[in-house]
């Protein structure tokens, strides 16, 4: 039986395996439920009580320990899919989402891959190939040069010559790069040789490919990305931009759409460039083209992310398009049901990433029990998370606990709504960045829309200090202690005391709609 929305699809499916965990797995499972698709969660042993496992229609244990044997084990995941009547695999982000060999293996096994073609992943994964393709497609790239010398000495000489033409400061980047590895900034010509050697060594170790290229360093630039959707019939549209400049350790902390500096004209130009970028690699599915935008308003291709992005909800808020649903429609072989002229930007949306980390100690990751977890609610507030009260935050996985997204009529209203929502967010038992985020969204420079990739370093260069408790706070604690409140509300280090039923094998609710191998 084909689902009504899938009528006429070339590759119909009704059962989806989600090859991911945590927040994004929950997000995808929710889309499955709305579309009438059966969902299968695969999980490591230490995730057996996680929210996404509970939410999925079926859950299957991944044998082994550590990421390589579990969430990165494509072979095991495909074999589980085949044994359990799965038709399609959604990889989420991270993990296997940008592994072209996995995409190929999924297709070879006769399954539907909810993602772009393997060849598009490869073209964009090789940063130098991507640069060349983008230039050919008329997409502006960052001024720079690819180095094509196989002899190491000649390569160093070529890099040195190129650096004279490009000027300072510049970046030496690994061709196979990613995650900040194999990347060196150079601010003096005398440092070019050493930086090139270091970048090559690091890239060789990390990717088995030491080849590098050089690009001019665009200081104080903004990180602005364009969301695109492409179907299997060469239709490509863009859904406007996301401003992702506020970062710490090269990781995004806050994103907003639209960008406070992108005019309708610039949006159309960047959108057209992103559409060309996608067409140049015969892209299919949801993708993101990242640009650096200089203070002069010129934009340059940075890279393309060939998957759903963490920050996709803000685009969903301002365009009204459910990107995960679109991923499923496109994977099934349906044409886009919108044209470019159907897309308009409605209001303003902001997302902040709630991390278990200590902003007061250099944003070091933190762990603990989520002894109390009350997420904000109310108009224009969306919380995407993979945790709930009682869960443990362990060092095994990413420290992102939730994404808090607000949508309002304009930027100022969105900032006010975010401030309200953050103040409602109660997380006790684990240190988080919620208080830091409060200071961030109330910072005059942020309110004025003056953000760049240096924003956090610039304004909290000497670190962030948490507010000391007021007399009221200490008094409240003293009264709580004196009144024996902890006797009712103490949470032990283990979450099991909170919900004993969750671990009781005889609990009949555990087996409803689930299958345990």
């Amino acid at each position: 039986m084909v689902l009504d929305w899938m009528e006429g699809a070339e590759r119909p499916f009704s059962k989806v395996l989600v090859a991911n965990r945590g927040e994004i797995a929950c997000r995808i499972i929710r889309a499955c439920k709305e579309l009438g698709l059966n969902s299968v969660a695969v999980h490591a042993e230490d995730d057996k009580d996680s929210l996404f496992v509970e939410m999925a229609d079926e859950s299957i244990l991944l044998e082994g320990t550590g990421l390589a044997q579990t969430y990165l084990n494509g072979e095991q995941i495909i074999s589980i899919a085949l044994k359990n009547g799965v038709h399609a695999i959604h990889p989420g982000f991270g993990f296997l989402s940008e592994r072209s060999d996995f995409a190929n293996a999924v297709n070879s096994a006769g399954l539907v891959w909810v993602g772009p073609p393997a060849q598009a992943i490869d073209s964009m994964g090789d940063k130098m190939t991507a640069r060349r393709l983008m230039r050919q497609a008329g997409v502006p790239v960052i001024p720079g040069e690819e180095i094509n010398e196989s002899d190491p000495e000649k390569e160093l000489a070529a890099i040195h010559e190129a650096s004279q033409r490009i000027g300072l400061p510049l970046m030496i980047k690994a061709r196979a790069g990613g995650g900040g590895k194999g990347m060196r900034m150079v601010s003096e010509f005398s440092g070019v040789r050493g930086a090139a050697q270091a970048a090559r060594r690091e890239a060789e170790a990390a990717f088995g490919d030491g080849r590098v290229y050089i690009e001019k360093m665009l200081t104080s630039s903004r990180h602005i990305e364009i969301q695109i959707l492409a179907d299997s019939f060469s239709n490509v549209i863009h859904l406007g931009e996301r401003e992702c400049s506020v970062q710490r350790r090269h990781q995004k902390v806050l994103e907003e759409a639209p960008s406070p500096v992108v005019s309708e004209g610039l949006r159309a130009q960047m959108g057209a460039a992103a559409v060309n970028a996608a067409k140049a690699v015969f892209y299919e599915g949801a993708g993101t083209v990242e640009f650096l935008v200089t203070t002069h308003g010129t934009f340059h291709f940075l890279e393309m992310n060939t998957r759903i992005q963490v920050e996709h909800p803000i685009t969903e808020c301002v365009t009204g398009v459910d990107l995960v649903v679109e991923q499923f429609r496109i994977a099934a072989g349906l044409p886009l049901n919108r044209e470019q002229t159907d897309i308009s930007i409605n209001g303003h949306s902001i997302e902040v990433r709630i991390y278990a980390e200590s902003p007061a100690s250099g944003f070091l990751p933190a762990t603990g029990t989520l002894a109390r977890w009350q997420a904000p609610e109310g108009p224009g507030v969306r919380v995407d998370t993979g945790v709930r009260q009682g869960d443990e935050v362990t060092p095994s996985y990413d420290p992102m606990l939730a994404k808090l997204i607000v949508h309002a009529s304009d930027r100022n209203a969105a900032i006010r709504r975010m401030r309200r929502a953050l103040s409602e967010f109660v997380i006790l038992g684990t240190v988080t960045n919620v208080d830091f985020l409060q200071d961030l969204i109330q910072h005059p420079s942020f309110k004025a829309g003056r953000t760049s990739t240096d924003f956090i370093a610039e304004h909290w260069g000497n670190g962030w200090t948490e507010q000391a408790p007021s007399i009221d706070v200490v008094l409240a604690v003293a009264v709580a202690e004196a009144s024996g409140m902890q006797r009712n509300k103490t949470v032990s280090a283990s979450s099991e005391s909170l919900d004993p039923l969750r671990h009781d094998p005889s609990n009949p609710f555990l087996s409803i709609g689930k299958r345990f191998p």
């Binding site: 990751p365 007021s470 009221d472 008094l475 409240a476 003293a478 202690e481």
Partner: protein, 163 residues
């Protein structure tokens, strides 16, 4: 009853309360050496605390730590058990700043180290962190080895500092 708490700046608070039919009255309150006049009252409302300015606090105790959410901010106050001085027993102990895996132990027992010298390299959640010597000193004890998984706050090294 009297209780002592330590805040995020290692400031000590001592609060003396007396109980009555209407809840608790503050007899005395001090922060460090400073006595504080208190004109707010607080009473318990189920699992929350209502303050006399009308604000509510959500609280939760985990181990010796009171976690409290009040006016949109989160604080942690450590209850200090009478007779225990937490600042004493941590002297010379270097602890893990985050939970994670020990990648490398760069010193040996009995080694003389200089302030700022890297002693241990650890990793968690894709991030590397160096534990460095806060002062010159002698490595008295090594309490971890390469490959160990450690909790936040676990003692890694005992360092005999300067007097």
């Amino acid at each position: 009853m009297q209780n002592e708490f330590q805040d995020c700046n290692s400031e000590k608070w001592v609060v003396t309360l007396s109980s009555s039919a209407h809840g608790f009255t503050v007899e005395a309150m001090s922060r460090g050496a400073e006595n504080i006049a208190v004109d707010v009252r607080a009473e318990r409302k189920g699992s929350k605390i209502l303050l006399s300015d009308g604000t509510m606090a959500t609280l939760c105790k985990v181990g010796d730590d009171w976690w409290i959410h009040h006016s949109g901010r989160t604080h942690k106050l450590q209850l200090i058990e009478p007779g225990l001085d937490s600042s004493e027993d941590s002297e010379g102990s270097l602890v893990a700043p985050m939970p994670g895996t020990i990648l490398d132990v760069m010193v040996t027992r009995g080694e003389q180290v200089a302030a700022g010298q890297a002693l241990i390299l650890m990793e968690a959640m894709k991030m590397e962190h160096k534990v460095v010597a806060p002062t010159d000193g002698l490595i008295e004890a090594l309490l971890c080895s390469q490959g160990d998984r450690v909790e936040q706050g676990a003692v890694l090294i005992e360092l005999s500092g300067k007097e």
